[in-house]
């Protein structure tokens, strides 16, 4: 097996709620994880165990409390847990892709432009970014008549497919998938399984939360249990 491109060492994360008298909620403690190209690690555990918190920490969206999150970026291992904003912006641009459950809609921006944006920012040419976006939207069965509309009025399933197209339009070496099939019908679920399999085959290292067992069993190369921590008093 090749060397991991994502390595988590001793990650801990807690939230301090200053508006609730400084109550501290520990969510993650002592998390270790190594993900190599072609790996797809499923995070499992009960709701509230901290799976999404872990995913957000891996993307730099939540600040890590302790530990390191090492990512192979531009030929070197860099630590996202340092919280350096410019490093994280650069890592997100070319190295880590993220497919969340919900699409953040930008007023007035068309579906096609939203999908193509990260690929363009990653450095693909305009024409190639658009071409890949069109291919993915078609593959995810989003009617072409919708492509020039902003997705604000789309259904949950349509928005999720826009999000998926956006996440898969650039071949990121590392991909984080937070419930990528939550509101999809079986036909589109099968399309997503296909996209994940292709990404693994080209050597993407993936971490995902898949509540859908069928999807998880189809794509995951192994599972990691995330267990809930007990809240402490302030």
């Amino acid at each position: 097996m090749s060397a991991p491109v994502l390595k988590v060492e001793g990650l801990a994360k807690s939230f301090t709620l200053h508006l609730q008298g400084g109550r501290r909620l520990p969510v993650l403690h002592g998390i270790d994880l190594a993900v190599a190209p072609g790996d797809c690690v499923a995070l499992v555990g009960p709701s509230g165990a901290g799976k999404s918190t872990l995913m957000r920490a891996l993307y730099g969206n939540y600040l890590a409390g302790e530990g390191r999150i090492l990512v192979s970026h531009d030929g070197a291992m860099v630590d996202i847990a340092s919280g350096d904003p410019r490093l994280i912006v650069s890592v997100r641009r070319r190295t880590i892709g993220y497919v969340s459950q919900f699409l953040r809609v930008i007023p007035r921006v068309s579906t096609l432009a939203i999908v193509a944006e990260p690929a363009r920012r990653a450095g693909l040419g305009e024409a190639e970014a658009i071409e890949r976006s069109r291919t993915l939207l078609a593959r995810l069965n989003l009617p072409e008549a919708l492509w020039d509309l902003p997705p604000a009025t789309f259904s949950g399933g349509e928005q999720q497919r826009v999000n998926l197209a956006r996440g898969f339009a650039y071949p990121y070496p590392i991909m984080l998938l937070d419930e990528p099939t939550a509101s999809l019908d079986p036909a589109n679920r099968a399309v997503v399984i296909g996209l994940i399999e292709e990404a693994k085959a080209r050597g993407a290292a993936m971490v995902g939360i898949f509540h859908d067992r069928e999807v998880r069993e189809a794509v995951a190369t192994r599972s990691i249990e995330v267990t809930p921590l007990r809240a402490e008093a302030a």
């Binding site: 508006l19 730099g60 939540y62 919280g83 904003p85 650069s90 930008i106 007023p107």
Partner: protein, 259 residues
Amino acid sequence: MMAEAPLLEADRVSVSFGRIAAVREASFRLWPGEVLAIVGESGSGKTTLLRALHGEITPDDGRVLYRTAAGETVDLHRLSEPRRRALARTEWGFVHQNPRDGLRMAVSAGGNVGERLMAAGARHWGRIRAEAEGWLARVEIDGGRIDDPPRTFSGGMQQRLQIARVLVTEPRLVLMDEPTGGLDVSVQARLLDLIRSLVGELGIAAIIVTHDLAVARLLADRMLVMQRGEVVESGLTDQVLDDPQHPYSQLLVSSVLQA
């Protein structure tokens, strides 16, 4: 890329008005092409800091360093007034909250854009007019209005015209003070989309002062949170908004109604 020098650096900038400390030891760096939001309530010192960065207000303490297009690092508040003005004309832009402060209301729309080009050294009338036309189109103002003065425009159009006037010289750094304040929500969305795409296309660095966290999320890579003159938190925009650390940032984020 990480070794690249900052474009602007505020080093412990403090401004007081009489006995009131409006800004206390604010420090940050801005790199080329980066968009930084400064958020906080009214009275937090964010606009005062912006004006100190622009050189309009002289700090009581601290420095503002700027790296010019020629690669020279200058201390803004030690530059001669003509030199500072020349930089403001050619390398920076300032977008005021009220377009009346940034436009000449009696001069035609085309003149407002062309004037700034001339100030930066353009002389050929035909080219200036063509450039002005191009910019009006980019900010979605009908070319038929080029000879009308902005006082005949709506608030949203005036603000778009101000943006065209500022961006026409392709500045390296744009400072914006509540650019969407006072506009209707539908007009705000259009303006935000415009700012977002123009700043992205031109690779301009920008500092945007806003009290609107949604504006910060949409436009900025990084943000600073100010409270009572102090920078209490700074970081990646979505990280500060989704996982705020400081009590005041938590209060700001939790006070926003979810639409």
